[in-house]
Symmetry: D3
Subunit: 250 residues, 6 copies
């Protein structure tokens, strides 16, 4: 039994509140257990200098935590004057993952800024960010469709993420909370599409290693969990969910 | 009539949700109209180096906005690698205001870190931060009382803040929203205690000036509004409100 | 009696030396008691990007102290690699104050850079900076007039600043020196125009509060002091003083 | 056929020159095709503050490229004043990988600083860094053994890394050079131990995805390559290779 | 004839005003023609960490220019967030030069902070800084002597600096002003002691070179000028000048 | 006898390996005794903004050390977020020296970036950098000649550098290694051209001074050494050496 009474293959409760903040084109509050992340997607009508004149768009992500999202207060990265390696790694991951399911040639010379701000953390903040950011991005494109700025939904597939891990007693578990993450020998983040393809696999043994059979068990656990998460995303998106993939289809 | 149908002396609706985030010792979500700020108070069991060995505590504040709290997306201060002058000015103001109603000699060598994070902005974010932070700080001290780490509530009086201003047509108004703030000739932030004393008056004419009689009208408007705000704080604080001032009384 | 034998309503001796540094368009050395500030106004023939194409100008200020302007040596902000909150607050204040008495639409697309460098500090450096900077700016515009780059003096009124405060024994005093500033319960900086209107009021009780009647006493003390300071400015400006307000008049 | 005439499962030629730089405790120059990295391991007789008093050591890594290691000159990170996200990600990976095969409780309160400086880049710089750094670290511990500062080799297993990828034509290939890396749909870095366990798997589809069967093909390719690399490491290490694992064995 | 009517071997007028700023232990305003530098020497009763426990002191220098010391306004280094290479080079030079004539083993574990702040620049700011800083340092040690904190003047010899150069027409000149410095092919700064020994020679041909005979002519010009400057220093120092060298003599 | 058995006027063994790194237009590895520096010259087809439209080019240099080039590990300047004064001084010196023997008006609007990266340090890294960088720059221009981008070799003369110094026992020595440099009273770096003219003389007495006769002895030692170094440069450059000076000749 896990420390929060879950089965090894059981996700924490997930809620996604759409249109959480009023200013952004797309905005959600996602909660995964006690982890809470505000995901905002902003559309800017230009691309970074290195992409100008190519007729295509770009998606970039930023990630941050409120100082007291965690049990101990963290120093603000703005006060330190620099962004930590962990933060950079996470925001690069989120951006890369989202770009894998958006046809950037269909959004014009626009940049989608995705901001994932963790207001409360209990493990899995980067995977919750990806899952929530996907919905925020679809909502933002929904607004562009509504305003006839683009003709088709440029999102080619669903996208979500979760974590799996192996505890010191060799149990493989799905969706680690903070305490489990801290204890685990192996921690793996998986980003997957609606068609069950991998976008990103990041498996790490901190002061530990893992075998190929353990890898396979973890991938299976993850796949099952991710399927459920896509179900939740679909519910939140309502009619917009039908339009995902319409670009690909043509 | 104002752009949101309010009377000139009418506050926007205010809500204060206590215990909003689970980790901090004190936490509230304050909403003032469309302005929403998470105010967290964290207790650290030591003081900054310049205060060690004096047997007293310290209160310091940090203020930030999510990039998309505003109509246009702002660049994160952590990405820019430095904190703006505006941010510094606001966090110095919040800290100074809170220190004026806390008897720092009664909290031991502890630091109270107050984090005000604006998740949605529509004018008055600094005054909403002070009003909300006051409640968060009282809740945090409430926890210290509960854990018998201190014997008396070290907060000597209530504290809250609002803004007043003068529109180009010379109307004086209470609690400016973003549009009004942008239009106003004069903008004044007032921080007041429960006993009606001023803690801070910051009146500014940007490319404009104001007379002593205009000042008096604004101060009166502010006083009436602040009295109502203290009423809301009292309601949220429940029994804790009775303990405010008990230090002073001795 | 005050620590330097002044009456409560007595200013320290003020001298303003015009054309102190040769390179800037306008330059003064102002001394207020032992406080000495070099105020230089530089004219640049363009405006910052956000103002281009609007046909109007901009005024911005920077403030700094020599490391040994104070009793203890301060670390240079250039060595620390960042500007302190206090410095930012002061330079924002100086810029705002100057802009309130200059008709920016009458100076073309030019930027006035005002540099206030404190070479010796004994309290009141920000108010001395405003008083001196005003003269430097008028001198700089005088040069533009001389060179026929502008046709009328764009300064609409006189501008100066001083401080008032309340000592622990409740005495209200004018023009605080460092020792008084350190001891005071309440410290208030007032910026006023030649016609007696307020530009800025910043009253702060650090770990203290003040009542409305105390506020009124302080405002009165300030008004009397500021009138004398304008007298000194007029003397220094010679014939140029006649041209102040000529823009307004039309 | 690949652009450099290799078979799909063929590594580039690898050389490892031990004791390349004289000052560090361990130093190698590793070349993998045209990629050249200087890997230096330095022993410091203390640990970072957060680890003091625990009687164990720490390994940390830094990674950098000379500005002209690449086809176009890069701006130095020291000139930019900050380390890029890519650099941070790589140095975190190298450190984590090395820590997984060192028993930190056996090295006393010492820090091993690993510096991987790429002097010429042609793809696979992070994996070459790990492979080379492992040898440098073993050499450094060899020096500690020689000087009787530690009694047993604290390295528990061999460690090396390589990349695999999938080209747009769906061919899976081993050890990508720069041109291949640029063209590939999927890029995966694998870090493995001498006993064939994974330490790290990082598979990324940039604007692409991959299936579980493609994953399995890539893992197999990688395993075969990594076995050969360990053979090269063993040759370079000479007698020291016998001591790897002696800690684990007890 | 030179652009300011001087002979080739003629110094500009030099004045040194002692005790210019009240707070520092030693302070002078030095003017060399139109170049004006405030030189302050501050005594701190401890040394930097790398020197603790050795029973000797340290001298370090900082150099800066007011933004409008020059014909065009410079951006403040505090605003840029970093100190330029030129500034660093100059402050290293000043510190090194002063240390060459102070017996650091005779000042206890104290640091002398020397601040050279150029308020008006017309060439030769670094040499004027050295000449002025020397006097400020002697004054500061004079204060330590007065307070019986040290028993003997630790300054072993006089120290001053000037520049020499070669114009495009091959004329060698002494003490270059800004216009001459800009035009010169070769620019050389010489720091010399009272006994005629060199402390520092920095000769530079920017896009030009110079022969050994040109070098000798320049050194001779410099020596003659430096002798005159020492005369001025002696006059300013009054009785303190007698104590210079008393440490050496024993 | 010196600590490495050299005569006082004996250089350490020098090797220069051309085309050391493949990507740069010009690249050498220079070793001077145990000092090893990679010197890369990169040609960029544009100049910095302040030089645009003048039809001439620019040469700029950067210098760095690997963290473990030295006996103790240094913190990376990229990690510290700023470049040290010493580094800036050296890179300014290298750039200035190279510009003195290149006719910038003959290279079009191009920038030559010279990177000197010390991989192993044993004294004399700045002079070895200049000697090596000169060869790298000639090789880079050789490539431009080959590609007919320029018609004549723009290098007007040979250029190299070495150090001389005076030990505490008053012996003058040539080409100081680290230990000698540390011990010396006086340290002088000399940059000279093929025709025996000085480009730069930087002589420094750290807590010491030197006489004019000592200066002359040092200059003579240096001249003899530099002549030998030019011999080595000529050998490495092969046929390209004939073209040096052809611009000047016309």
């Amino acid at each position: 039994m896990r420390n929060d009474q879950r089965e090894v293959n059981e996700l924490r409760p997930i809620t996604i509140t759409p249109n959480y903040i009023t200013h952004p084109e797309g905005s959600v509050l996602i909660t995964v257990g006690n982890t809470k992340v505000i995901c905002n997607a902003s559309i800017e009508d230009r691309v970074p200098p290195f992409m100008r004149g190519q007729g295509k768009g770009w998606i970039t992500a930023e990630y941050a935590m409120l100082p007291r999202a965690t049990a101990d207060r963290n120093i603000r990265e703005s006060s330190k004057g620099k962004v930590s390696g962990r933060t950079m790694e996470i925001q690069r991951l989120i951006g890369r993952a989202l770009r894998s399911v958006v046809d950037l040639s269909k959004i014009g010379e626009r940049t989608v800024w995705v901001d994932c701000d963790v207001i409360q953390a209990d493990g899995g903040t980067r995977t919750a960010s990806i899952t929530g950011a996907f919905v925020a991005v679809v909502l933002a494109f929904g607004k562009l469709l509504e305003n006839k700025k683009i003709g088709k939904m440029p999102v080619t597939d669903f996208l979500c993420a979760t974590s799996v891990g192996i505890l010191p007693d060799k149990t493989a578990i799905l969706d680690l909370n903070y305490e489990e993450d801290f204890a685990a020998n192996v921690d793996m983040n998986i980003v997957m599409t609606g068609s069950g393809e991998f976008v990103e696999i990041q498996g790490t043994g901190e002061e530990a290693t893992f075998s190929i059979s353990e890898l396979q068990i973890m991938l299976k656990l993850a796949s099952e969990g991710l399927e459920q998460i896509i179900g939740i995303q679909k519910e939140v998106l309502g009619e917009l969910k039908e339009r995902i993939g319409e670009t690909k289809a043509n």
